[in-house]
């Protein structure tokens, strides 16, 4: 049903296997998600996307849970089914509580609504934001 083949470990090029190994080690999982098997069709692409993902999602000024919640929020607005499932799960795995998840959803819903109002009425940007 995907538009590309899902590449399994045994069929992957050595440099792709290295990425798979790194993902499995870092995440302590037995197999990588389909997202990575799909990206594996292009060794350069999976290498780049994994390097970025590992670097950007690592906790630094923002902790890991906050980053997963932001990622989930973006995925919900973009309506990316796959990403909603995997990153909501990732947020829970990294420690998001049920209460935090409910508040995440409430903030997203509020922002969606108010985005509609501000865009719909063409509310002019307040002067203090223009200088």
């Amino acid at each position: 049903m995907a538009t590309v083949k899902l590449i399994q470990y045994a069929d992957a090029a050595p440099e792709v296997q290295a990425v798979f190994d790194d993902i499995k080690a870092l995440r302590k999982v037995k197999d990588v998600n389909n997202f990575w098997k799909a990206l594996a069709n292009q060794p350069k692409n999976i290498q780049r996307v994994w390097r970025e993902t590992k670097e950007i999602m690592a906790p630094r000024a923002l902790d890991a849970v906050t980053k997963e919640m932001i990622y989930t929020a973006v995925s919900i607005v973009n309506n990316c089914d796959y990403c909603i499932h995997t990153h909501t799960a990732a947020a829970f795995n990294k420690g998001m509580s049920e209460e935090q998840y409910q508040e995440l959803l409430a903030v997203i819903g509020l922002a969606m609504q108010n985005n509609g109002f501000a865009t719909g009425m063409k509310v002019p940007i307040d002067e203090q934001f223009l200088k």
Copy 2:
């Protein structure tokens, strides 16, 4: 340039003035933003939206900065100019550091890119998310 009149305090109905007063007191500002002046065309609407905003954005399981960052992320994906300006500023006002802002942007960019990949290749959702 807005599609509605911006209602100033002096011209507002008493129940709208009460909302303006509440916003100014809570936020310690001299005047409300244009968003509220636009919503003020409909007393019921501004009352409802302010009640929701006050309740949902108050820190509880998620702190105030995290909520503003999530709100900003949604507004960026929805491309709501007005909301991007006001909620990026609100996040800074509530304590977001420059480093956190840079990481917020990086996570949004990564999620946007990966949303494109997962949606474009129609990556099938992994079995563990379907049961």
Copy 3:
């Protein structure tokens, strides 16, 4: 600032002038909007888009105001500044009341919010809609 030249009547090809004339006659206006001057770079394109617009927006099973409100709703979600301005104005010109406009905005805001909830929680579609 546009990415194309805006074609004025005097500079337009005869078949484009014919479209301009038809728009001006039907809408009882002295000049066409910039949208049409931009489309005029491609005679076939402006002819096709005007033919479609005239046919689809004409009142039939849905009246003209309802059609303009739906058009405006789509434009708000797509965040098309130009279209929000012109079609909100068109809805008012064709008879939308201030109260109707406020309700239009409220419905859009509610739908935006609830779209976020349903998409975010991956709410499964009820069985009655699947058969």
Copy 4:
């Protein structure tokens, strides 16, 4: 498959059961849709969303069918599968004719296309909309 449990009536808190009862009475249905069972994880949230939905979707300056059509249009642009199914059905239930539905779709398609043109060519907003 949802990211939350669907709360059934028997397992719901009393204040959630009250919302379920109100929905069932108003809509004359035997059970509420999954959307409400998902929102029921957060009593405050389902109370708020139902209060808003009941108030905003009630016929006033706009009739019930027009409101459902606008809601459906927003849901189509936002690509909310769940909402498209439920609100297209709601529009039909409240009296939308097959002809009106076809015209709704035609207007949405036209607006989508023209949004693309106006945004793509960065058509400058006409002066009459800027003062």
Copy 5:
């Protein structure tokens, strides 16, 4: 599961059958896709959409593969499942290579990411684009 009936050839009006025949002849296929069977509920609509599709997607200044790739890119950003499947397949049928497809995805991912950055930071448009 669709919101409309899918009209089969045998049940279609003569003017719809003529469209089906034209699609089958041009595309050298035994049956038309569900998209056309859904549009067939409205003879005028299917006639108009097919006429547009045939005219716009025909190779002229842009070749057929480039057009299908652009169509696919739009469908990915709009998250139209149906269109992603059919137009990715159409691009392959018309000659898109596996390498080209991988580059198409990479460009879409890059644009998605950079759209997020430019929109999020409200990067001011450079002067040379404003005159």
Copy 6:
């Protein structure tokens, strides 16, 4: 008006100046666009984004103009004003003809419209795409 400072060459860190130099040399321009000055707030970020952009946008299986047209299409659907201006200009600079641009817009408009129809009617995906 941006949410970040625009970093000028003279004020940039050496590793950022190196990126600026590389952009100027490759593009044969005297100064970099505001996009890069905004990204320059985070040396790692501008390094990463420039490395990706240079690699992904370079002609290989797809030529440079086709890549710019796809980038522009994504930016139009995402409504990224900044990106529409810069990448439409880039496409022209790299050789897109006026005729090709008009066809690009026509394909985007058609896809937008048909995305609306397929999503709105929940057209079921044809069997040949599901196996």
